[in-house]
Structure formats: structure tokens, C-alpha cells
Symmetry: C2
Subunit: 112 residues, 2 copies
């Protein structure tokens, strides 16, 4: 289990036998900063998820699960949130989807 996203990147990288410098070049960042990311001292930026996926041939959907899963876990750990938080989050995301689906229908006038 990798509960820090950087650990996950390090795993991918070392499995493929890449150096920090090599992967950093692919991701367009400094190798020193990639080192910090892998060691949990900097955040990995959302905008590089796609590059990461293509570099390692990963399913972007699964990568997002890993990335945001870590992010939420970190917050919850930091603020000592109850697991109820996640149930509520699920309700709310479903609610957002349903209301915005409706809104989109109205906006595009395809309510039939």
C-alpha cells in the first residue's frame, strides 16, 4: 500500500529502471524536485497526471483514483476526519452530478 503518491511514483520509476533525471525530463520538471515529490516533500501537480500515465502506460482513470485517493486520505488524516466524511462525499458528488445533469439538460434544451 502506498499512502503517499510520491512512493507510488518511485515504485513505477524504479520498476522501469529509470533515473530521477530521466523521469523528470519526461515530466518536464527538475530532478531535484522530483526527488522531493517522491519523498513526500512536495506535491505532484494534477496537470502532470496525463504525462505520468502516458510514460508508464497507465489507465488515467486508475491513476486518478490513486492520486485523489491519496489526497483525500492525507486531508482526512491531517484533520482527523471520521470515515463518515467519505459517505457524505459520495452523496454529495452524486447530488452534484444529478443536479448538473439536469442543469445541462435545461441549458441545451434536450429535456425529452
Amino acid at each position: 500500500m502506498k499512502a503517499i503518491f510520491g512512493e507510488y511514483i518511485r515504485q513505477l520509476r524504479t520498476d522501469k529502471g529509470l533515473t530521477l533525471t530521466q523521469l523528470a525530463a519526461r515530466l518536464e520538471l527538475d530532478s531535484a524536485n522530483l526527488s522531493k515529490i517522491e519523498n513526500g516533500k512536495r506535491e505532484f501537480d494534477e496537470k502532470r497526471l496525463i504525462k505520468l500515465a502516458s510514460t508508464f502506460n497507465l489507465d488515467i482513470e486508475k491513476l486518478k483514483v490513486e492520486y485523489f485517493g491519496n489526497q483525500f486520505a492525507k486531508k482526512m488524516y491531517e484533520y482527523n476526519c471520521s470515515t463518515e466524511t467519505l459517505i457524505v462525499a459520495e452523496e454529495k458528488v452524486n447530488y452534484l452530478k444529478s443536479t448538473n445533469a439536469k442543469r445541462a439538460q435545461i441549458e441545451f434544451g434536450d429535456e425529452k
Copy 2:
């Protein structure tokens, strides 16, 4: 269902018959900015959760559920994350708790 935290604040505020100015004073912010928060145009800052709880006599744990639940839902909606994300988040937060509990034991030398 309130899927925007600001809507939740507005509900609390109007239920208690407070004006923006009155609540803003309690929360130590500008009423214009509180208006934006309630309308989802600015974020409510974590550091004011405690003031919010005490103003409305809310259980801080429940308030955190509401706050972070909204926050996670927003991210998931924005990035179109699968609900699998939340399952993974739960696993990871449990993992963090168990490993850091262990680490704390080692640090404080109270492994007995």
C-alpha cells in the same frame, strides 16, 4: 442536500436570523466576502471552522464531515473521478493511521 458549503452556511445564518454583517463579524471577515462564500465564489477557510461551530453550537466533528465531504465531492466532480476513489481513500487513511500509530509508539518508546 447542500453540496456547496456556502449554502450550508447561509442556511445556518438565515435560520438564526443573522445578517451577513453580523455573522461576518463573528467569523472575523468582511461581509462582502462572506456573501461570496455563501454564493460559492470563494472558499471558506478551514481555520474558521471552529468559530463557525461555536457560533451555531455545532458539533465540530459533524461540521468537518460536512466541510470536507463537500470539498472532496467538488474535486471528484471537477475531475470526474470514479467512486472507487473514495474506497481507496478509506483504505489509505486507515493505512496512514496504522503506520503512524506504530511510528508514534516507536518514537515515544511505549510499545508495551
